[in-house]
Amino acid sequence: MTTISDIAFANQAMLLLIVPHGRAEAIALFALEEGAGSATVFSGHGTVPKPILRMLGLDEVRRELILITLSKQEAASELLHKIRDTGHFSEKNIGIAFIQPLLDITENKDNPAAGNREIETTETNYRALITIVENGEGHAVVDIARENGAAGATIISAMGSADHSTHIFDFDINPRKDLVLLISNKEKADSLQEALLAAFRTSTPGRGIIFSLYVSETLGIMGHENAEQLLSRARAVAAPSPHTALFVMVNRPKTKDIIQACEAAGNMGASIMHGRGIRHTGKAGSFFRESFDVERNMVLMVIKKEQEEEILQILRALDKSDPAYALSVSASYALNFSKFSAAE
């Protein structure tokens, strides 16, 4: 059995699934049985685009987001098909899944800066667009996205890292945020991003960020691709981006350490999401099983390419110093990164 620390910096693909509330557990366990490195579940909600339900305030549906890391892109593709074939994910419109190719961040001892950063990916017509806004604005983001042709989106509650400029009662305040994840056509992604930037642009710093990610395979996006078409697609080298998105999974009590260490390295902000890391205890079905998953946070940071190596070094050092962090780090190109603050 590979432990978390063995694969902490060696993931090559990340599989993201969005499923109705209550289904995540079974899928995550299945993925772990099939050899996934880690599976973390977050809860979020989506909205139903019906005006009557909107008026009645009943347009929310609870969903779960499962984030699975794997050592190979091929393995991710295989797993996605297995999940579909085993019926966990078969019905139409039950959720969406996509594979996100990751950068190679395995440590190269001879020359730390020389890791092979290029990623090969099967290009799809899709991008995953991640928008982080103030708490309560998630719905507005989804509305604007719909007006610009997106099919739907999932909102996950998050926390911003503390703004050290204001102390209230001797505490750093963690602003509450909404993270909106949506999948959009490549062609529409740019105009969508423009529309969102226009709508939320402000002069207040720390308002939020927007960026998109490569998607190498999708499943369940209504009326669009299917997996068979995708398999025949040629692989290509993804164009590099000046920004990197770091997905850091960490034991909940250790989150603050990670953020402080990264801040010391010059990173300006991070978003934190509470979730649970599913542990495969081999005792599936027992009443207590579920409760011995570990509380894990995902710390999401978008950093400049130049900062990347320094921050990764710090994270590797932390990981080696104390297994209690249970770190798992994935990196990916952050495309078209921008902040909502006009000052930037």
Binding site: S5, H21, G57, M159, A162, F169, N174, H274, F287, N297
Partner: protein, 500 residues
């Protein structure tokens, strides 16, 4: 519609167990008159629908208002504003709580006007306000909940020495009745709104909980102070409602309707007021958020009214009947056994219980699942009802004979329990003693007490709520200890698997 159908399914699963249990009793131990039986079924349907609507309303209305007010108060960064805000919020939600008014009318009659209705309501509300203030102060100063609880309950024990057994019952019952269906979600959200702002500091969910527990303790403290200063020497008998034959089939529902509509409005009013003040005064929310919250408050009102009509019309008579029949027709053992299951299954249908258990699941990222908290709570309440029925049979068993050792045990447990579970346990105490307990369980206990010749319907009737509020403190802390133990074991297993 997704949200609503989801809640409806959940609530069906919560209310059906008690419904089936009563049907089982109907066919075995206590055949219920046909009319009452069908009223009970109608009541159950109303309760399921009412709870579903109410809980959607809590998500949309009560919770956001609580979180926003907590946030707004903290962000002023002025300790005086925060503390005064806490005092005021605690005071107004308590003074509008219908259950407290019901109890204070009973106490007024019982003490022959020495403790007047409004006097008691005011005293309790001030107590709640002060303790909410203390709760706020604790949160921003980072003082551990157990420290505050030790001091508070130390004071309670001390004051209890200067009070009569009757006042012990009033005080502990008052604590249960101040934390009603609306108050509890609001207080939970208020604390979550504050704790959530600096969660990065502590990085776990422990500080969110405990506010409801402190508010309940405030009510006890205030009543004990009142009793110590001005204790009535003698008590009068009052009439406890009996099962009077209704004039027509739906009468129990229609006759309670107007009272319920007013009561629910009273419960919602402070929240609406708080919302208007913070919206106009501080936050200036977007139009869409405002209308969402308003719709949420309306659902709270509508759902709570349906729920209460269902409980009052369908459940109360059956509760009283079953209680009486069990004592009259069956052995004490069977009565205690039935009480055990009745208590266990009734608390699952308590509205605020779902708000708390959902909140725990959410704030721990799903690692403390909803059902685990729910089950510990249900087992606790089951033992409460067992104790309440034993009190009916055993004449000399005073309330404090149970409460004193139990609370000493509870205080000792807080030394070992992880902070998160201390908070959840004390909140659960307030949550479990909601409208379902105040009507169905109380009616059951009064029915049983009325049927037993040696029992004093008043002494044994009062104090049930106190017992319901007490047991979850033990069982949930127990769950916390088991959780801690298991977690440590799992971690050892995980560590031994690790080659490093």
């Amino acid at each position: 519609m997704g949200l609503f159908t989801e809640k409806l399914k959940e609530m069906g699963a919560s209310v059906l167990p008690i419904t089936f249990f009563v049907i089982l009793l109907h066919f075995t131990l206590t055949p219920i008159p046909a009319d009452d039986f069908w009223r009970f079924i109608i009541g159950a349907v109303l309760i399921i629908v009412g709870l579903g609507i109410f809980l959607v309303g809590v998500d949309l209305g009560a919770t956001p208002i609580g979180e926003l007010s907590g946030e707004a108060l903290v962000k002023t960064n002025k300790i005086t504003v925060l503390l005064l805000g806490g005092l005021l919020l605690g005071f107004i939600i308590s003074i509008a709580e219908p259950d407290l008014h019901v109890l204070s009318v009973q106490v007024e009659q019982f003490t022959a006007d020495i403790v007047g209705r409004w006097q008691m309501v005011l005293v309790v509300s001030i107590g709640v306000g002060v303790m909410v203030m203390v709760g706020f102060w604790r949160l921003v100063k980072g003082i551990r909940l157990r420290t505050v609880l030790w001091i508070t309950y130390g004071l309670i024990f001390l004051l209890a020495l200067f009070n009569s057994p009757e006042f012990h019952a009033f005080s502990f019952d008052a604590s249960g009745s101040t934390t009603g269906a609306i108050t509890t979600p609001f207080l939970l959200a208020l604390a979550a709104g504050i704790a959530g702002l600096y969660e990065g500091e502590a990085e776990d969910a422990r500080d969110r909980y405990g506010m409801v527990g402190l508010a309940s303790a405030g009510a006890i403290l205030a009543m004990l102070v009142q009793g110590a200063l001005d204790s009535p020497g003698s008590y009068q008998q009052i009439d406890i409602a009996e099962n009077i034959a209704p004039a027509y089939f739906l009468e129990p529902f229609t006759s309670s309707l107007s009272g319920v509509l007013v009561d629910s409005l009273l419960s919602i009013a402070p929240l609406a007021l708080v919302f208007i003040v913070i919206h106009l005064g501080i936050l200036r929310l977007k139009r869409q958020s405002v209308s969402r919250i308003m719709i949420g408050l309306f659902y709270c009102y509508f759902g709570l009214s349906l729920f209460m009509v269902g409980v009052n019309g369908g459940f109360m008579r059956v509760g009283r009947f079953i209680g009486a029949q069990l004592v009259l027709e069956h052995s004490p053992f069977l009565a205690v056994l039935a009480g055990f299951f009745l208590g266990m299954l009734t608390v699952i249908a308590e509205p605020a219980v779902h708000v708390l258990t959902d909140s725990v699941q959410k704030s721990t990222g799903g690692t403390v699942p909803r059902n685990l908290t729910l089950m510990s709570l249900a087992i606790g309440v089951a033992f409460s009802i067992v104790l309440a029925i034993i009190r009916i049979y055993v004449e000399d068993l005073m309330l404090w004979h149970i409460l004193l050792p139990a609370y000493i045990l509870i205080m000792i447990l807080t030394y070992f329990t992880p902070d998160l579970f201390i908070g959840v346990a004390f909140d659960a105490g307030g949550v479990a003693s909601g409208p379902m307990t105040a009507t169905f369980i109380l009616a059951f206990a009064q029915g049983a007490a009325g049927a037993h010749p040696a029992a004093n319907i008043l002494i044994d009737g009062f104090g049930v709520v106190a017992l319901v509020a007490m047991s979850p403190l033990i069982t949930i802390q127990g769950m916390g200890l088991i959780y801690k133990h298991r977690q440590r074991k799992e971690q050892q297993v995980a560590a031994s698997e690790d080659p490093e």
